[in-house]
């Protein structure tokens, strides 16, 4: 495959960025998108240039590190997968790909395609936990949990915090992420004890960091690689109203 890449290049957070054009030849359809970038970087290093900086870790779709905005979609145009799982066979020979970092005020660009997503960590630190005395693991069935609730809590807990929801939202809202983190605790008895404090603190932190507001467009759900549902946002709203 032959591809034209328009990649956002930015030296550091203070520098002004711009798109650079790279022509790729002999791209295998079996490559993942990140492997294609690896091939580009190998070439750039051999030519004495600066390789394109991008985040990645597990390359198995579970760490939430990779996150690149490709042709108008976070993680590319294929739904339900992360950038590392995006195969080049989904693109056409001769296609031009626009490759950008997540764009949101709370996610400043560090370099090229890498953004600082520590805003999510700050929201988690504000209340996304259960306060317990550490010790040996308790008996699993000592607190009964309704099966349906356990399943919904698990579905929320699979959020990998990649930030695709923020990237996809026209308002750069973090509501899907926060709602998943609220829901995974709100649905189980262990999480109910600090439910009020948690939702207040996490929403307050989210607002303080400068994320936008939720317009219920559903773009976040459509682009989430883990298919987190916006019904979680409704649950967050309910939890917030109950907290006051």
């Amino acid at each position: 495959m032959k591809l034209t890449l328009k990649i956002w290049r930015q030296k550091d957070s203070k520098s002004k960025g711009r798109f650079e054009t790279y022509h790729m030849e002999n791209v295998s359809p079996e490559m993942s998108f990140l492997e294609m970038l690896d091939a580009l970087n190998k070439r750039l290093v051999e030519e004495g240039g600066d390789p394109v900086a991008f985040d990645h870790d597990c390359r198995e779709g579970i760490c939430g590190s990779c996150g690149i905005y490709i042709n108008g979609h976070p993680h590319g145009p294929v739904p339900g997968i992360t950038t590392c799982h995006l195969s080049m066979r989904y693109f056409n020979d001769g296609e031009t790909l626009w490759v950008e970092p997540w764009r949101a005020k709370p996610f400043p660009v560090i370099k090229d395609l890498i953004v600082d997503r520590s805003a999510f960590d700050k929201i988690q630190i504000a209340g996304g936990f259960i306060s317990v005395d550490t010790g040996s693991a308790p008996e699993a069935n000592s607190i009964p949990v309704r099966k349906q609730n356990a399943d919904m809590a698990f579905d929320a807990a699979i959020c990998i915090g990649c930030g695709a929801c923020v990237a996809a939202c026209k308002n750069a809202s973090a509501m899907l992420f926060v709602s998943a983190k609220i829901s995974q605790f709100a649905l189980i008895p262990q999480g109910r004890i600090e439910a009020k404090e948690r939702v207040r603190a996490m929403v307050e932190k989210m607002d303080e960091l400068g994320f936008g507001n939720c317009s219920n467009t559903g773009a976040c759900e459509a682009e989430c690689p883990k298919k987190i549902k916006i019904s979680n946002i409704a649950r967050l709203n309910r939890e917030y109203y109950k907290a006051y």
């Binding site: 108008g72 026209k170 939720c214 317009s215 467009t217 773009a219 459509a222 109203y241």
Partner: protein, 214 residues
């Protein structure tokens, strides 16, 4: 207290409650307007007089205006925050799948606001004595107005955009209030289609019929 009243979730709550109140008002307005289709001006003028003079309705009128102002103010406030949250736009645009018309709420909303100003000049300001006209004969005022093609085009275009605005607003309000349900949310989405087509179509029908009566 400031955090409770003005958090992102609280602001959306206020928007949703105010929006639902306005959604409830429109069928009342349409029901009265349907009397314009009668050849006898008396029923419409009586209804208009009742709406303008009955004390309970007058209280609701004040609540309606407060609701409208709050909805507009909060809508603009939220939108400015949303724009600030993404100072650098995507070069390749945003192609994510979204619910219908949800991307354009601020624009359809501002169009409806401009329409309301025109509408007030046409009718409401007559009642206040700001614009010349007979406040006891809104039937004739409406019939005269819709003889002018330009007003018909403006009103019909605005009704269309009002329908777009209402479509997303209807289901979005329930989601914001936390009312998302496995069975009822799909029902609300169907009702959103019915409401957002029926209400503007009802107003548009009246305008077209009056236009053709000339």
């Amino acid at each position: 207290m400031y955090k409770i009243l003005f958090s992102s979730v609280s602001k959306k709550f206020v928007m949703a409650v105010a929006g639902l109140f306005l959604i409830l008002f429109l069928p009342v307005h349409l029901t009265i307007n349907l009397m314009l289709l009668k050849s006898d001006p008396l029923p419409f003028n009586r209804a208009a007089h009742f709406m303008a003079s009955f004390p309970v309705i007058k209280v609701f009128e004040v609540i309606l205006f407060i609701t409208l102002i709050v909805h507009i103010f909060y809508g603009i406030w939220l939108q400015i925050q949303n724009w600030r949250a993404r100072p650098v736009k995507y070069a390749s645009g945003q192609k994510s799948e979204t619910s219908s018309f949800s991307r354009f709420m601020i624009w359809t909303g501002l169009t409806v606001l401009i329409f309301l100003i025109i509408h007030f000049f046409n009718f409401f300001f007559i009642k206040l004595g700001i614009v010349e006209g007979n406040p006891e004969d809104f039937y004739s005022v409406a019939h005269e107005l819709f003889k002018i093609p330009a007003y018909n085009y403006i009103y019909l275009a605005c009704f269309l955009l009002l329908g777009f605005h209402l479509h997303h607003a209807f289901s979005s309000a329930f989601q914001t209030l936390g009312l998302n349900h496995r069975i009822w949310t799909p029902v609300i989405k169907v009702l959103a289609w019915v409401y957002s087509i029926a209400i503007p179509a009802g107003f548009a029908t009246i305008a077209i019929v009056l236009w053709q009566l000339k």
